[in-house]
């Protein structure tokens, strides 16, 4: 039996898929030969199989660094539901006792998901270096690059950590990494050799439509028109939680036959799963959400994705529309754009990283704490509340202060010249980061303004050319919606008296 056949059998046995999707086998074969691999695969192409299958076939523990806690939890749950039990996630939600338990039993797991923050702990790295690491995976690897749309400073330390772990084979995965980002990833990981597997990210079954409107009423009208034609699973993206929530009420009023709910990072953990799974389970038609929704969502028949607000980068846009039509059938991506819409992402960009005066205040306070001989508290919360800045801003600053030796473990090390220099450097860096992000936003705005083919404009940064679309291309090439007839059945969720419902759940039948 050939080697590839064997792999396919393993895939079937462990994950119940009968064949590999594009790119998966090529990456897995290289990974199994202990090569360092950079894989760029479009969203929805099953990136996680590229390490989940090898983790079972290799001797030792596979570590997966993942930036999103909810994504980690979902993956672990999904694997466990497929009877892959030797998997565990370590993140800030895991309590002290459980964390200790995991530390003690590390060698019993095959697959460990971990947040980059937790991987920074010296004690834990020591623990890890005492066992065999079969593979070190960096999911969402564009987070390593400051040119990636989701840059995380904690990711920058991964290169050093890999070395500390005696350089196990590395697999860096991303769905959106333009060539410049790819170079940055490789450089920051300090890898001498790496095999690249880059696949085109265009999706031939997506039709891109951009509609410019002058009022919010027009937006709502267009949105309901599309939803009315479609009556099946759809996602509507908003740039704020509150707007997603409010639109649910509006939609329920205007389109009572649709089952609508909202999802964002602020909802209760049980609700998060219930809403997600109601959608998967066809109990819901439409989810109004923020960008927090969708990572790891694998619903194949989403036919319509509406952006009620403009995303802040093409990368984010590609990732979000990538959730449509995973089954390969024609699907529509509608972007609604109003005149005032640029203000929101601009504002988000300007407030993501600390401002100059915020950095000054934090440094002054730190200096004072140092002079009073105070140690930094164990919990970061106490610090950022004291400095009155957001957690993300503090994490960003802390990373840089540690990098420049201004904070060493719990101690504050004051040196006026050094501190001045870091202050200037940081501000300069933040400025360049912000202007980079604004430039990204400009690209998004250019997309809205262009009269050229949208498909070409969207993908040109990543690749030359694209496959011929199977349905209609885009609103600039000309579309005829009367031909769009997605056949999906609307969600059902019956209302029956509690006793019948409970009997149905537990005893079965009615």
């Amino acid at each position: 039996m050939s080697k590839t056949m064997q792999l396919e059998q393993k895939l079937e046995r462990y994950f119940q898929y009968d064949q590999f999707r594009k790119g998966q086998r090529e990456i897995i074969e290289d990974v199994l030969q202990a090569k360092n691999v950079l894989g760029v695969l479009p969203t929805g192409s099953g990136k996680s199989i590229c390490y989940q299958l090898p983790s079972l076939l290799m001797d030792g523990l596979t570590i997966v660094v993942s930036p999103l806690i909810s994504l980690m939890i979902d993956q672990v749950k999904e694997l466990r539901s497929k009877n892959f039990k030797r998997v565990v996630a370590l993140n800030s939600l895991v309590g002290y006792e459980e964390r200790q338990f995991i530390y003690q039993h590390l060698n019993q797991y095959k697959l460990l998901y971990i947040s980059p923050e937790l991987l920074q702990q010296e004690q834990f790295i020591k623990k890890l270096s005492s066992i065999k690491i079969s593979l070190f995976v960096i999911d969402e690897a564009h987070c390593i690059s400051q040119w990636g749309h989701d840059f995380r400073p904690d990711y920058l330390k991964l290169g050093a950590i890999i070395k500390q772990l005696e350089s196990p084979p590395v697999l860096a995965l991303s769905a959106t990494a333009a060539p410049a980002v790819q170079e940055d990833i490789i450089e920051n990981l300090h890898l001498k050799t790496i095999t690249k597997h880059i696949y085109p990210m265009d999706r031939k079954n997506l039709t891109f439509i951009i509609e410019k409107v002058s009022t919010i009423h027009e937006k709502i009208e267009l949105m309901t028109t599309y939803l009315g034609k479609h009556l099946g699973p759809a996602l509507i993206y908003f740039s704020s939680r509150i707007q997603a929530e409010n639109m649910v009420e509006t939609l329920r009023r205007m389109m009572p036959s649709l089952k609508v709910a909202f999802y964002h990072g602020g909802i209760d953990p049980v609700d998060r799963i219930q809403i997600q799974q109601q959608f998967m389970n066809d109990q819901l038609d439409v989810i109004c959400c923020t960008s927090a929704f969708g990572m790891g969502i694998n619903k194949s028949n989403i036919r319509l994705i509406i952006h009620f607000h403009i995303p802040s980068q093409i990368e984010a846009y590609i990732q979000e529309v990538g959730r449509a039509g995973r089954d390969g059938k024609p699907s529509i991506c509608l972007l609604l754009f109003g005149v005032g819409d640029i203000a929101i992402p601009k504002n988000i960009i300007e407030n993501e990283l600390p401002h100059e005066d915020e950095i000054r205040v934090v440094m002054q306070q730190l200096k004072q704490m140092g002079e009073e001989g105070l140690e930094l508290p164990v919990r970061d919360l106490e610090l950022y509340e004291r400095f009155q800045i957001s957690e993300t801003k503090w994490r960003f600053l802390r990373f840089h202060f540690e990098k420049h030796g201004m904070i060493m473990a719990k101690n504050i090390v004051y040196d006026p010249i050094q501190w001045q220099r870091v202050f200037r450097q940081l501000n300069k860096w933040i400025q360049s980061r912000n202007s980079y992000k604004k430039q990204e936003l400009e690209e998004m705005i250019d997309l809205v303004e262009t009269t050229a083919c949208l498909r070409e404009t969207i993908y040109k940064k990543f690749q030359k050319g694209y496959s011929t679309p199977i349905f209609q291309c885009c609103s600039n090439c000309g579309i005829d919606l009367s031909k769009w007839a997605p056949s999906v059945k609307p969600a059902r969720d019956e209302e029956i008296p509690w006793k019948d419902k409970l009997r149905k759940l537990l005893v079965g039948g009615i």
Partner: protein, 363 residues
């Protein structure tokens, strides 16, 4: 959208603390702050049933609610003291409460006893029902709604123990649940069941329940908590009727609320060390030991109040409490001879509470 339960609880608490404590003490009570002051206040003011009944309450939502009740004239904002906000309960609030009392399920709540137990019980129940419902259909491929190790462990154990006669177990569970739910008003029973997930079905989110039953999200959450408390009370008092459900709570202890440090002090105290000796031994300030003793006094039914307060002092303090009509330490302190300490006053407040509950004896 009705928000009666949340309003009712806040007004009841405000009524009981009648300006003696700041607004944030109400918040601390609702979220179940482990702060000893919060727990002591809960007993002193007789509002322990609402301790920890709304753990996920966000401060901003709470502030918004207080503002809403103030605008409705049910509460009045009083002058601030060192940036702490005080509120008073109004006559209108009294009217509101007497009008709604009958319809509010406030008697469900037994926060101080059940808050922790109830949330564990509820998580276990959600996961157990989802798991059994799926297993019965031979489906082992579902996404659990609870990701919490206590519930996971519990359900795993049940599964292993009852595997052989699982149908019988499920039938029993169903019957016991029906029995409990039948005692509830129709709306509450529907709401409770609508939240449940099982084979091929995922339950409603808080927001979906709120829309379906035209209640605020606060009231949905409080209804679920209240119903869980009510269930546990029934299950525990009729163990023989609720055989299967009792197994779900039997191993859950009502947590001892003594902090670890107070517990160490308590051990030494039981070995007859004086507060000074304990302070010395533990390298702690004497005042810290007094804090611990006030905490211990709440839970130790044989606490020797008379070792710390003479009968005359006790009378002085009780008299001052009645006279000033206040539970504020500072106010009471000003009304008693200056050699009486804050610690002695705190002890007498605890004693007064215990006496009212019928459990205390001045020994």
């Amino acid at each position: 959208m009705s928000c009666l339960i949340f309003t009712g609880i806040i007004l009841t608490i405000a009524k009981n603390i009648s300006q003696e404590r700041s607004v944030s003490s109400i918040y601390n009570l609702l979220v179940g702050s482990k702060n000893i002051q919060t727990i002591q206040d809960a007993y002193i003011f007789g509002i322990q049933n609402y301790y920890g009944v709304y753990k996920g309450l966000e401060k901003s939502r709470f502030d918004e609610k207080i503002q809403e009740l103030t605008q409705l004239g049910l509460l009045i904002e009083k002058a601030r003291e060192n940036s702490r906000k005080f509120i008073a309960y109004t006559e209108q609030a009294d009217y509101w409460l007497s009008e709604h009392q009958q319809r509010l399920p406030l008697h469900y709540f037994q926060g101080i006893v059940y808050e922790e137990k109830a949330s564990l019980f509820y998580e276990r129940l959600l996961l157990l029902i989802q798991t059994l419902s799926n297993i019965k259909e031979n489906n082992f491929n579902f996404i659990p709604v609870i990701h919490q190790s206590d519930a996971e462990r519990f359900v795993r154990n049940v599964y292993n123990q009852k595997k052989a006669n699982k149908n019988q177990y499920i039938q029993k569970l169903y019957e016991e649940l029906v029995d409990l739910l039948e005692d509830l008003p129709e709306v509450e029973a529907n709401l409770f069941v609508d939240r449940l997930s099982g084979f091929g079905h995922y339950g409603k989110s808080i927001e979906q329940l709120a829309t379906t039953y035209n209640k605020s999200k606060d009231d949905v959450i409080l209804t679920l908590v209240g119903v869980s408390h009510q269930f546990i009370r029934k299950i525990e008092s009729e163990k023989n009727t609720y055989h299967v459900l009792f197994e779900m709570v039997a191993d859950l202890q009502t947590p001892s609320r003594l902090t670890d440090s107070a517990r160490k002090t308590y051990e030494l105290f039981l070995r007859d060390f004086t507060p000074e000796e304990i302070a010395h031994k533990r390298h702690l300030k004497l005042n810290t030991i007094y804090d611990h003793l006030a905490e211990i006094a709440l839970y130790d039914s044989a606490f020797p109040f008379s070792s710390f307060v003479t009968e005359t002092e006790a009378e002085e303090i009780m008299h001052a409490i009645e006279h000033t009509e206040s539970y504020k330490l500072k106010v009471i302190k000003d009304a008693v001879p200056s050699d009486i300490s804050f610690f002695q006053i705190r002890l007498m407040l605890v004693f007064k509470h215990k006496f009212r509950e019928g459990g205390g004896q001045f020994v």
